[in-house]
Amino acid sequence: MFVPLYAMRLLWLGVLASQLAAVVGFWAWNHVHHPLGNQLTGDSTAQFLAWGRLAGLLAAFGCLLQIVLVGRTRWVERAFGLDRLSRLHHVVGFGLVLAIVAHPVLVTAGHALQEENSFGGQFAAFLKNWEDVAGATVAVGIMLAALVFSVLVLRRKMRYEWWHATHLTFYIAIALAFGHQLAVGWDFDTNLPPDPDRGFDAHRWFRYYWLGLYVFVFANLLWYRVARPLAGYWRHRFRVARLVPEAGAVTSVHIEGRRMERFLARGGQFVIVRFLARGFRWEAHPFSLSAPPDGRRLRLTIKALGDYTRKIPELAPGTGVIIDGPHGIFTAGRCKGAKALLVAGGIGITPIRSMAEDLARRGTDLVLLYANRDRKSIVFETELAELAAATGRLKVIHVLSADPDWAGERGQIDRERLARLVPDVREREVFLCGPPPMMKAVRAALRNLGVPRGRIYYERFAL
């Protein structure tokens, strides 16, 4: 069934907003109908405790949201694309710090006031007397460390592999915090005396709801991140068929398997692969399909950019591959018009290459602007020329920034060049993939030429 992207996004945002409203609603109900009176309008002790509890609930809710965002949950991913979800994950992560820090500070301050204790003395009393507070303190430490490491990895001061290993400890933190929530969370406390004025036992229902929320999120996580890729491997038995060196430090990995005609993907999508070989099996990385699946094999084209990708040419044919995907909404399926402009930079050609074939075979009038440093960096030069000749729907224009021998377009893909090479650019939908600075510049140039924002589709490399 075809569901428009905006409808999927609205549905997802509606689900998220309703869950957030449920959490805040339960919290508000509990505190308005508190046995000691409305705590939201109460004295400073009541205020500290009430808002501290809300911070705790939001911190836990935010952690669950984080899992959904990076859990490769299909119904969310199809609405936004993993690259956008990944960026949202970064933003929510930094926002979470506020709630994670506010919760212990406010709750400790509230109890210190109520029990006429110092802040430090009160916190020590929590550690000594309250079940699971020590565990929750460790959880806060892990969460804050994970955020610090994320900053370090973003600034390239920490190895990705180390960061990834430390980031996985977040699950331990979530488990510790979950125990704390159920053990001492007042909003889930079912020991409150029954009170006919409260109408219904909101604490009990909130507890059930909360448990349901965790079950739902972790069931999705296990299904989409673990069970589904394993089931796919079981069904298809993916294997590396051969490695083909391409231009520069680029290698194409051809993957074959059983019942490949049932592996359905669109041009432009990517898969997250885990090669089952020594030195590879502990890491899974996303790579674009550089050719639309033909029912027999998949092709990934990978540039040696880091420690992991530099080892790709060492893969032996026959190596097993666990494939998670396909993922991504940067596909030929989004092109609704009869004309499209494809813009690729460097290894950003991989999704564009498979998209070009998909679209050209559909009869779309295509122009491909492909930016590289020099001629020897051009990946798929022959293949693209052959595709253009075979379909008659594709015009390929190479733009090289630093090749004095190149007789064609030299320089960057800027406004002037776009206007000159693609005079009907306003009539085209634009698909863009390349290094972030290039994408930013091309998007600005396209907007300047009057291409509406909604007709420019792009995907960032890194997740």
Binding site: P35, L36, G37, T41, G42, D43, A46, L49, H111, Q114, E115, A125, F126, K128, N129, W130, E131, A183, V184, W186, D189, N191, L192, P193, D195
Partner: protein, 200 residues
Amino acid sequence: MKRLMLSLSAIGLLLVPALAAETSTADNLKAAHQASLDAKARYEAFAAKAGEEGYKSAAALFRAAAKSEDIHIAKYASVLKELGVEAKAEAAKPEVKTTRENAEAAIKDKTANRETLLPGHVKAAEADKQKKAVMFFKGAIAADGECLKLFEQAKGNLDGWKAGDKEFLVCTVCSYVMAAPAPGKCPICSASNEKYESFK
């Protein structure tokens, strides 16, 4: 002059409910303070009687109830002090009968407090925007509710309450009374169990 007098009378009439409301919470606090003073003395005497009659667990419950009333007394006195009202500190002499009759009297006492007296005080205090008074009256309703339940259990099986095997805990922060084993933190005010006082 006549018109001026009429206007002043009208203003006076308008002010009466406001003043009445203001004095209402103070009066209610004084009444509640006195009731808690009397109740504390009564439960202490009931505890002594239960001890004499060999109802050790019932004696423990009466002592816990007296402690709970003691906390109410302090709370009401603190609000009265803030309002500039002096609270009386003398309790009426309690009437002590058999432990069964004493338990019945305690049930009657707690039922009246919980169902009539204190809810009325809460409403008046809410109208007066006396947040602390509202909180303390509500705390007393919660504590009395649980205490009432325990008194009813005692009355229902008084012979079973002879053995001193029962323990009662009073949260010294909010006055809530619980039978052991009690939760790790007070279900009403969330104070940790180090704030509980044990009676057995």
